[in-house]
Assembly symmetry: D3
Homo-oligomer: 230 residues x 6
């Protein structure tokens, strides 16, 4: 119960700080295009509205807090502190975003995709086991898994849209990584949450058929994400 | 056993006919750029090499067979007949591809992503229950599921990179759909196969933690995809 | 007279249902960006304004009616039922659109361009003679015509911006095709209407010189499109 | 007869010097990417192969001859001297090209499209009547013609893919213009030549139906372009 | 003093007429998207808002004045008359802009970058010495300078983002050039002004260290640009 | 003398490890497109050739060494350890690159541009004074300087193509930062080196006029970069 709450908590953190993203954003059409909050109820644009350049100041291109560890007291033992166009308005039109990842011992950034951005990761502390899986079909492709053990100073890149993960393989040590994304808003889709924690839930028979199991197992897995269905 | 083989079969079909794909491909730099098979062992390019335009003929822009139902005798009751740049060279640089989807009664196009393309689908025959799930995080987003029942002539669009599915809800009737993708090679990543059928397999502890289940359940699910691990 | 009216009618249909389109639209910057009607008199954007994501529902990604034949009782014996961002708001930023083409016996989709999108077409019923013409100049190019006879299940692709056409070669049978475009708004420019039916008309001497004929012939052709000049 | 030959001549000039082009070419991935001639018989790429940067010299970014009037002794009284990636290798990946247009008195750049580029034109000498036509369909669009008389120093822009033309309205004076295109290879498709001078010819019945005339008129117009069919 | 004022004047001219620009702007999503002035105080977009297409007229695609020499009575002996989306609304979304350059004898377009556009230049009158410098690092690169003497009718291309210049090498003759840019708003950054004339000034120690000189020389150079600091 | 050599050394390091950069690279057309060394003397492409996907391994997506401080014993007191497509082949087509910056006390990353990429920087250790300057012209722009003092965990973003710098303001402490770029090859152009250390040198009169100083000062500054001219 406790665990579920803390898991919900990390998702809540995601909801506030992340929504990270991807690769070939539309190019800038002026020196900068600092975003502003959406102040009109009925109209929005692709991306963000632009702040009056007369009012732009250095703080619009500035953010802070990546020296502070995220709270990893949750089921995954993982926390994202993300900087993207939603909380860092100067990134608008610049095609890049950034994040700090904290891992408790055995902490996991679970299998997920960034639908709109490639990701490059550097390990700052600890030891990570990382991997991504290629597409199901296509010439020379049959869901190949590429993995690597990373130490501090090591760098790995995850191609846009592919399912990937990182696991802290330190038994007792925490781990820290910095990551950058080739979009101002790459997106973050945890596969398990997407399938078993959506609102409303995906029908049992679809998940049972997809995973080739009976619906009881689907119900059981879903119950792990139930807090997320309310 | 039989079922596993037939499931493997559909994947084999995928491997031959699909590798469908997505959204903002590089633009053409001439009227057309018909692809050729990669004839040099050591060098390839992003996308495909170009056929000598003097040798290009109408057949390079032509393909056939979408009138023939795919073989849905597999566990999913589903078959893709896909046309993309890998088997339809005239699509190179044009930013579009096409497919026919066949569904047995209760046949399922399982939850998957197209990492490089949005998808638009029109129902030709039967009745489909379709849906996609939004990102895990970001303002106003918490894995919302959007679903719809579709009848012949109905059209639905799945945004690039998001997990989506279609289920034939006809008890006894088959279903048929045509789909197009905003890429010459959108990719096709079935979530279950990617997680439980990769080569080599993803470690049990990662999947157990991701789905919040114990490793026995992970092993059980993986066994359903075992044929795919060899 | 009757014919002219019915031809005007098909154009009116175009004006409502089409404005189909093309290839490397700006990429999405969030999961989706459903369009809304332009509610402010004085300002618009490139593409469309975005609906508040809180108000987005499955119906925004849905359209219907492609099971209903278009009315081909016009001079061309042809009707387009098009779905693009102007009448299908969920397509906004997704780089794709769709259409149904109906052809009476000998019905013609006349020579035209889609200025912003490549087009892929699958024949559902009947037999089509299709073709496109390459550029006037450039290495290895001298207005080459590529043509093909298509039967049900056959697929053909027309590269972005090139003049192309389809003719139903069935003497008594109608024909039906589905097409997709690599843009949310590919555009549809019928060459004859553009040259002889514009508002206001193009000067006689320009058309006479362009087609190497005298102005009487220009006037005669223009009279065929006169309804369109009012 | 003479006229036809000279008209063929201007097209031949096109074939050598033009193949001008358009708007959102793929971006450069290094400081420059000077093109080289295609030296391998069987493989080409989208765009051009790249010269070894060690061998690149200032002359690769240089061209000359735009001070020399083109030969306008042809039926149209018009000549293009175009610089694009096919004859100016330094333009490769830079998304721009250039041309000089010469007009005899009443000379005409006939209705045409640039399928891959917008065009901006400045009048250097003489007086031009210029125009373009909008799409056939779409909200607020019904083949609207926009025209303007231009004098030296005046500038006009033609949006990508739309049919446009320029006519020298000077009775006895020649005219000269410089134009730039938003592509390294925008393409140049003269409508009349594409429809009536293609190889092989487009069927009479298609053109007759498209222009709402009988086939005799089609045959007559085609005869004006016959030299171009051989 | 006089000279400083006239130099300030040319910059003032820049501020009004230029802000020229670059290469892979977002593509159009309709036939055209004429810009309007930003009429709302608090919201802007990437690029420009769009004028109601019903109100668009030929004049939106038209500009004039490139027959009038710019005023070169300033320290550089140089003047830009630029047409970009800020003063030519029809260019919006079309990925191109244009300018006239006037040079007094020995007039200089000083070393600068266009951060968002490649530039192509044709000499109309006089003799120019032009050049650009490649990147500081990278394989095969060590700040190579490419230069060329240009005469009327000669054309040169400057790749996006690289530092370049033109000098009128005529002792007594003025020079004139036309240039086009692969963006609707390429930007114009004079290196000397950016470093020594910014508001507020860049710290002395940074410039002293960057140029490997003592701060007195920095102060002296800055004094030349002092008018620009107020 | 010693200093000059060590300055040359840092440039040599640049030449090997960097060539960092940029903004809207062409999108991938398959899951990944690992680069290979250019093995053919005469042909290259925009970007890189692609490794046979059968031979691709996890190490292609991996690099190391960002835990090792760069050697800052040079005139600038600054070192870049850069990872881009030239030394990290897995980055090809992914639109992102990465670097570690080391600063000695008062070490300076001198005013420079990245012509093809925006840059996001996080301070890991020490205290940096950072800034960038906007364009010389355009509405609301007159070379505005935006600056900020950064501490560990602080983040700053530099828009593509604009001149920017970082200075370690710690009197005795070194500083370390990680940076990411929105391109696989953003480019790195130090302004001082580009102007005063190019090969061959830029003419004295151009630099004297650009900086409004006499040629003796130009010669003096150039002498500081003389080692770089050989």
């Amino acid at each position: 119960m406790m665990a579920l709450k803390s898991f919900a908590l990390i998702i809540a953190i995601f909801a506030v700080v992340t929504s990270i993203s991807h690769a070939s954003d539309p190019s800038p059409l002026q020196d900068f295009c600092v975003a502003i909050n959406d102040t009109m109820a009925h109209v929005l644009v692709n991306g963000k509205f632009r702040k009056n350049p007369e009012h732009v100041a250095a703080d619009d291109f500035f953010s802070s807090g990546l020296n502070i560890p995220g709270n990893t007291s949750n089921q995954l033992g993982f926390a994202v502190t993300g900087l993207n166009v939603n909380n860092f308005p100067g990134l608008n039109t610049l095609g890049i975003s950034f994040a700090r990842f904290d891992y408790a011992p055995y902490g996991l950034d679970p299998p997920h995709t960034n639908p709109r951005g490639s990701e490059i990761l550097v390990v700052v502390e600890g030891m990570l086991y990382v991997g991504f899986v290629t597409s199901t079909s296509g010439p020379n492709m049959r869901n190949r898994l590429f993995t690597k053990i990373l130490h501090p100073g090591d760098v790995f890149v995850f191609p846009v849209g592919l399912i990937h993960f990182q696991l802290n393989v330190g038994k007792e040590a925490k781990a820290v990584a910095f990551t950058a994304f080739s979009s101002q808003n790459p997106g973050y889709n945890i596969v398990a949450n997407t399938l078993f924690g959506s609102h409303p839930p995906i029908n049992d028979d679809i998940l049972a058929k997809a995973f080739q199991v009976d619906e009881k197992i689907v119900d059981y897995i879903r119950s792990q994400f139930e807090w997320d269905n309310n």
